[in-house]
């Protein structure tokens, strides 16, 4: 019969059009089992959709690697001032344009006795900001560490280096090498370039008491890639976990992320860390 053929053809066209809206979900693993079944059955016979799927995958991966833009230090300071002013409610809750705040900063620099902080009568926000950088609340999770590529790579290298001599090639100018995080009674032993989750990273091996602790300074995009890490940093300022006999602490840094890896209970207490 001709009619069923027409209906089937019509159905196939409709299905082809409908499934195009699901292709992103297929790429991102956001479809349920039934949807996956429909898409995969359609993909077998549809080259246009298969090509679209490949383009979406490639595009998504490439966009993920676009670096984050940064505000200048001056703009960060201006934001602190605006928030400080609002926090103390000495000035009305209005948006001061950034250029105006820059002007105030300029006047302050020329006239030491004039300061926005003195007008609103407090420096608490600046202090709070400083404290916020120092105070970290680690919440140790009992593993799943190996599911996060950056942690997997860092821990793998940490274990691998246990049985090897630490590289010395990157330590020609030792005095100039500063690990991003410091705490009392530590000594830098070695530093070398490595790769974490496919991106360039720098390792700092430190002696801390009787322990060797690795700090990995890693690409910010890699650092924030995992939603579990992002959420923990949102809530606690850091992400911490315990993997077998290893503790791992992830802390956001100025333009990067830091992974600290060491034996259980060997990592510094958050209040000991100096940025």
């Amino acid at each position: 019969m001709d009619i069923p053929f027409d209906i089937n053809t019509q159905n196939r066209i409709e299905l082809h059009e409908t499934l195009q809206d699901l292709l992103a979900g297929y790429v991102d693993y956001e479809l349920d089992n039934e949807q996956i079944m429909f898409v995969e059955a359609h993909l077998i016979g549809c080259e246009a959709c298969r090509n679209d799927l490949s383009r979406q995958k490639a595009l998504s991966q490439r966009l993920e690697s676009i670096p984050t833009s940064r505000m200048s230090a001056a703009v960060h300071q201006n934001l602190d001032k605006a928030l400080e002013a609002v926090a103390y409610e000495k000035v009305p809750l209005v948006k001061l344009p950034v250029w105006l705040l820059s002007l105030i900063a300029f006047v302050e620099s020329r006239m030491p006795h004039f300061s926005l902080a003195s007008i609103i009568g407090a420096s608490g926000w600046g202090v709070a900001l400083l404290l916020s950088v120092i105070i970290i609340e680690p919440h140790f999770n009992l593993s799943n560490a190996r599911q996060i590529p950056m942690i997997q790579d860092a821990v793998a290298e940490y274990y691998e280096m246990e049985g090897r001599a630490l590289p010395v090639s990157g330590m020609k100018n030792k005095a100039a090498i500063k690990p991003p995080l410091n705490w009392p009674n530590t000594q830098l032993l070695s530093s070398w370039a490595t790769k974490i989750a496919g991106a360039p990273a720098q390792v700092f091996a430190l002696r801390s008491g009787h322990n060797i602790i690795f700090q990995y300074q890693i690409n910010e995009a890699v650092f924030f890639r995992n939603p579990v890490v992002r959420k923990a940093i949102s809530k606690n300022g850091s992400y911490a976990l315990r993997d077998n006999k290893t503790d791992i602490l992830a802390i956001p840094f100025t333009d990067s992320g830091i992974l600290v890896v060491g034996a259980t209970d060997s990592l510094p207490k958050p209040e000991q860390i100096v940025f």
Partner: protein
Amino acid sequence: MTCIDKQKRFSQLTHPWRDRLYGVALRQTITRQLAEDWVQETLLRAWKDFSQLDEGIAIYAWLLKILDHVIADDRRKEKRRHQLAPVIAVDDLDLLSHPCSAPGPFENMLRQQQSEQLTESIENLPEEFRRVVMLRDIEGLSYNEVAYILDIATGTVMSRLSRGRRILASTLIKSQSKLQNTLGSNTCMKTNQKNDSGVG
């Protein structure tokens, strides 16, 4: 909670995200100053509503939602005309006829694109697609988070993302085509030939 404690908590939670917010803002305007103003307004509004923040909501998604409202409010003031969103199908002839549309050559073309060029192409997407592509593909948020920020269903996130990526791919392919016409060469064709001969 004392004011100092509240400030400390607020700063602790929001400070790591400031530059990321700025990056998102900057992708939606060509003016750095406007992006900075949007971030400032976002943080001020966040501070104002800080006590209402639900513990279950990720701070970055919450800040992005506020930023989205800030930008929308600003644009409303400018009375920008709503762009009609085009729809491109997977079997669009313009798309299929170009050698760069094949999976391998497309991937090669993307690798050669500067981040700035890609960002510019995203900025030129119709607004409803631009926001979804940006939040998902650049910021790496889940569909649920994007849906929460934009106040839309997750199914809508999916369809807009499918269409947005398709428009973006089409735009990039077409701009590559123009470039090749100008330079009088066809790198995609070369890539194809390489691939065919097993060299590349």
